[in-house]
């Protein structure tokens, strides 16, 4: 059955591996950083939270250099078609490193985390591991590699979610996350196996070619798409695979919530786009599909359900982290709209929206952390009167929320504009989707405004001092995020150009 490879074959394998390593430098550097963090943690005695955070942040920042160097490399497959280097992957490499740096920054800000957690070394090491996993998710072109990278992200995320051992909510969240994650992984791998059964290939480019050459049974294809979407849908937090997210968002340490809501979601979108655009680019066509149902139709259902459900259920939330969890479900819906457009403009819009989402969502959670440091609570009621006590944080949070609603002059508005432009550029077919999009964002306004309502319109119940104790570094970081949110809402050309340049995917035939 299993034949030992001959000497020549082994030599060629080694040669490919050697040549591929040169295209894999950022990932290697980040893996080194992972181990370095553990060593530093072991070697240095005493209180070292800030040291570890600095090493992580600097290490992540250093990886920019290695990623930047990859621009000069030729795009293409490496490691026997397991992995790819293209503009699309590069975009996400930058994206995950930036969000990783922000995750470190907000972790430093979180007093509860730094107070209660004894072994902060592994915490930062795991964040780095997650960055590696997410980068690999965005770059994988092979079903096995896709599965492995998703599991790497998943496993680190489970541990990080349960990091507040003394907090029952944190442990509960981790367990829920694990259970849901395992189920959806199982479904997804079943879908992968169906695809493999139809094509006898695991590389997505080859799958695409095989499907085009031999055709496929639409029913099986439909089932496989659905099962695979369960896996991806879980990562992006779209309805109906969203059940984990409110509990996990609420229970996890807030920096991890912020990181999951941005990084993990973006990684899910990266892998979803790459898989469906490259492997099954035509949906049902040119082959007859059952009742016209294809993955595009599934995505439309998911998008509508996410926008409506996320925005409506958020109306009743009393906890700000839960509220933002439902809002992130809704944003998954908006992002899916860009993918549904299935063209260059749609991809550009999705990537731009992700950049905007990075800024405004990390920013919002940043303020949530700073407020929790002061009040020890994430309940809406405890936000009363905070606008006057923490003027900068209050103003910044209002800007981030306005951006999440999608009002000008913020980056969130441009994101929505791009998404809806992509839909309307298709003519009148998707107008109804755009209509649902704008109407649900009116609903969104109501619950987002609940936060400024409590901060500014209501007086706090207990009189306490008005002194803002937020450290200067956080004030500055927050002000920068706030200004960027507005700046890129007015002068967004650099980001949209970047998103456009990044919409090229290796092996893509649809645009």
């Amino acid at each position: 059955m299993f034949q030992l490879p001959s000497g020549a074959e082994i030599e060629s394998i080694i040669a490919t591996l050697k040549s591929s390593v040169g295209f894999f430098v950022p990932e290697i550097w980040l893996s080194v950083l992972f181990m370095l963090l553990i060593v530093v943690d072991l070697a240095v005695k005493g209180r070292k939270n800030n040291l570890l955070a600095s090493v992580t942040a600097l290490g992540l920042a250093a990886s920019f250099f290695f990623i930047y160097q990859q621009h000069s490399l030729a795009t293409g497959e490496i490691f026997f078609g397991m992995y790819v280097l293209d503009e699309f992957a590069l975009f996400f490499k930058y994206f995950f490193v930036i969000s990783g740096i922000f995750a470190v920054l907000v972790s430093v800000a979180d007093e509860q985390l730094n107070r209660e957690v004894q072994s902060i070394g592994e915490y930062y090491a795991l964040i780095v591991a997650m960055v590696v996993g997410m980068i690999m998710m965005a770059s994988s072109t092979d079903l096995l590699m896709m599965f492995l990278s998703m599991e790497l992200v998943g496993l680190t995320a489970y541990v990080l979610t349960g990091y507040l051992k003394k907090d029952a909510r944190s442990s509960e969240a981790a367990l829920k996350y694990l259970v849901y994650g395992s189920v959806s992984s199982g479904l997804m791998i079943y879908g992968f196996s169906l695809i493999y059964g139809m094509t006898a290939e695991t590389n997505i480019m080859k799958i695409s070619a095989e499907l085009a050459r031999h055709g496929y049974d639409p029913l099986v294809m439909m089932l496989a798409s659905l099962l695979i979407l369960a896996g991806f849908g879980y990562k992006i937090g779209a309805v109906p695979f969203h059940f984990w997210s409110p509990d996990v968002y609420e229970g996890a340490p807030t920096p991890i919530t912020a990181y999951l809501s941005v990084g993990s979601k973006a990684a899910g979108f990266a892998i979803l786009m790459r898989f469906f655009y490259v492997a099954i680019p035509h949906g049902g066509e040119p082959f007859q599909d059952i009742a016209g149902l294809d993955w595009l139709m599934l995505l439309i259902v998911l998008a509508v359900a996410s926008m409506v459900y996320g925005n409506v259920v958020a109306l009743w939330q009393k906890n700000v982290k839960r509220l933002l969890a439902y809002s992130s479900i809704a944003h998954a819906g908006y992002l899916l709209l860009g993918i549904i457009a299935m063209d260059e403009l749609g991809t550009q819009a999705t990537l731009f929206y992700l950049l905007g989402y990075l800024l405004m969502n990390i920013g919002a959670f940043y303020v949530v952390i700073l407020i929790a440091n002061r009040t020890g609570s994430e309940n809406l009621d405890d936000y009363r009167g905070l606008g006057r006590k923490m003027p900068l944080a209050g103003a910044a949070l209002t800007v981030f929320l306005i951006s999440l609603v999608g009002l000008p002059p913020t980056i969130g508005f441009i994101g929505k504009l791009m998404i809806f432009s992509a839909l309307l550029a298709k003519g009148s077919v998707y107008i109804w989707l755009a209509l649902i999009g704008v109407l649900t964002s009116v609903i969104a306004l109501y619950y987002y405004m609940l936060i400024p309502l409590n901060m500014y319109l209501r007086e706090s119940k207990q009189p306490d001092d008005d002194h803002d104790r937020t450290a200067m570094v956080h004030q500055v970081a927050l002000a920068v995020l706030m200004i960027l949110t507005i700046y890129f809402g007015l002068f967004f050309a650099p980001l949209t150009d970047f998103a456009k340049a990044s919409s090229a995917m290796f092996g893509l035939t649809i645009y």
Partner: protein
């Protein structure tokens, strides 16, 4: 020039940001200086404005120069969208007859609003920062000629307004603030979709690119035939017209989208009511005249009757509601709804008389309603109540106040010799001479009767007769043997003080002057209105088809 008039308040806002919040007087003075500078600029623009140029559409050749004035046009954002060409957003300002009247009105009302904000003591710094942001957004809306820019300014108004009502408002302010916010956002999100659709449908004749320019959009020959909002796409053009109309009608506010207005007015502090009624409502009808109608003229022609009926409902329903109010401010709020109905009726007439009447009514309503709300504020400051039946015989004790009230009240009911009369007369002449709206005009005249009823009745109950037993003030006999009234915990001057006179007298002078000699304002608008009527006329559309 226009950039300066738009961004002066926001510059003042940034200056205020640097002033410590304890320096309340400095903050107020900085705001006032910006507002006065805005007025000066408005006068300069008015002086430099050539009323002969038409505006509305581009001059021959497709360029806005020679049609619009004080043009400032810079490329703002240019995006490469691959197969969709490039996305061009311009920083494009300019005025024509439609906007110059509104620019003057906005500058005037903004300055009066600052004066009216003087007594505010709570969080003065935050208040004036938001106020200046609002002033910039309002002015920006009126001078923006790029749809994208217009939309940015349009949405920028919402947040400051939300906080200004929500923080400095009355007891039920949370509800009123979010209701205002939700209603207007609901209207404007559709505008966003229409804006995108228009972008893909319109080509700038000069550059050959897609454009957001409202000037290019106002000429039907710039539309791509088979685009989503192109001439062939009848259904979507109707849909776009309707949602745009609803978006602007919410702002007007037009029945049945008016319910946010009384709530917002009752809760808002006096200066914000003045701004709201004086300027913000005009943005709705201005949007119709600048965007909604000229971009979809054939749909406009098909819906004249509906618009006219809705205008008549506004006039009569608003007047009826005003008649039933016990709260003076609520009465004035409903009178606003009634008076904005005249604007809609004038627009529905679709002829020069009606449109001139509508635009002139917008200007006059701005000045008159500002007076009304200021006067309501004056009595509320003293008595802490606005219930009409808590007063009586005020004319005896506050003669100056009573005199100004009489001018404002009579201007509002359309007494000849005051500005409101002229605009309403033009509206009725226009509506009556147009076939479609003739019957509607006849019915709408009833609105004037009811208008006179609620205004005169409230005047009589509050100012004539004697003090009522449960009135909001006490009667005292002074040392000189005369009777005086005394408001509880009011330490200021009983009758109008200097600040109040500074706000009210200019408005009263304008109302009287423009009632006798309307040409300074009306002369600005006629050539633009004629052009607008020409753009909207069915002849042009048939020529296109």
């Amino acid at each position: 020039m226009l950039s300066l008039i738009v961004f002066l308040p926001i510059i003042a806002g940034l200056v205020i940001l640097a002033v410590p919040s304890s320096q309340k007087q400095i903050i107020r003075i900085v705001s006032l200086l910006a507002a006065v500078a805005q007025c000066v600029l408005a006068v300069l623009i008015w002086q430099g404005y050539d009323a002969a140029l038409p505006g509305i559409t581009a001059a021959a050749g497709g360029a806005p120069e020679g049609s619009f004035q004080f043009i400032e046009r810079l490329p703002w954002i240019s995006l490469d969208l691959g197969s969709f060409g490039s996305l061009n957003i311009e920083y494009f300002l300019g005025v024509d007859g439609l906007s110059i009247t509104m620019v003057i009105l906005t500058a005037l009302i903004s300055a009066i609003g600052v004066l009216s904000s003087w007594p505010i003591q709570k969080q003065v710094k935050g208040y004036f920062i938001l106020y200046n942001l609002l002033a910039t957004a309002m002015m920006g809306c009126f001078v923006a000629l790029d749809f994208f820019l217009f939309y940015v300014f349009w949405e920028l108004m919402l947040l400051p307004m939300y906080f200004l009502i929500g923080i400095w408002g009355g007891p039920n302010r949370e509800y009123a603030a979010i209701k205002f916010f939700l209603y207007t956002l609901f209207g404007s999100v559709f505008m966003l979709l229409v804006m995108i659709g228009l972008y893909f449908s319109v080509i700038d004749p000069v550059t050959g690119n897609h454009t957001f320019s409202l000037v290019a959009m106002a000429s039907q020959e710039n539309y791509i035939k088979d685009a989503i909002l192109g001439p062939d796409s009848v259904m979507w053009r109707y849909a776009a017209f309707i949602v745009l109309f609803i978006g602007f009608a919410i702002k007007v506010p037009m029945f049945p989208f008016h319910t946010w207005l009384p709530d917002a007015h009752v809760e808002a502090p006096t200066p914000i009511s003045v701004i709201l009624a004086g300027v913000l409502l005009k943005l709705g009808t201005y949007g119709m005249m600048r965007i909604n109608f000229p971009l979809f003229p054939e749909v406009f022609q098909a819906s004249l009757y509906v618009i006219g009926v809705l205008g008549a409902i506004n006039i009569i329903y608003g007047a009826f509601c005003a008649l039933a109010q016990q709260d003076l401010k609520k009465m004035v709020a409903y009178s606003s709804i009634s008076h904005m109905g005249y604007v809609l009726l004038g627009l529905a007439a679709a002829n020069s008389e009606g449109m001139v009447g509508a635009l002139y009514q917008m200007f006059n309503h701005g000045t008159i309603t500002a007076m009304l709300f200021l006067l309501v504020g004056v009595i509320y400051d003293r008595a802490h109540t606005r219930q009409i039946d808590k007063f009586g015989g005020l004319a005896t004790y506050m003669p100056v106040y009573a005199a100004v009230v009489t001018i404002a009240w009579f201007a509002s009911l359309g007494l000849p010799g005051l500005s409101g009369f002229i605009s309403e007369a033009f509206v009725f002449v226009g509506a009556f001479s147009a076939e479609t709206t003739r019957n509607i005009a006849i019915v709408s005249v009833l609105g004037i009767v009811f208008g006179a009823a609620y205004l005169l009745w409230s005047l009589q109950r509050m100012f004539l007769g004697k003090r009522k037993p449960d009135a909001a003030y006490d009667l005292e006999v002074g040392a000189d043997g005369h009777e005086h009234i005394h408001f509880h915990d009011w330490k200021g001057k009983l009758d109008l003080d200097t600040r109040e006179l500074v706000m009210l007298v200019p408005l009263a002078v304008i109302v009287i002057f423009l009632g006798i000699y309307p040409m300074p304002v009306m002369g600005l608008m006629t050539s633009s209105i004629n052009k607008l009527v020409e753009v909207l006329s069915p002849v042009v559309m048939t020529a296109l088809n």
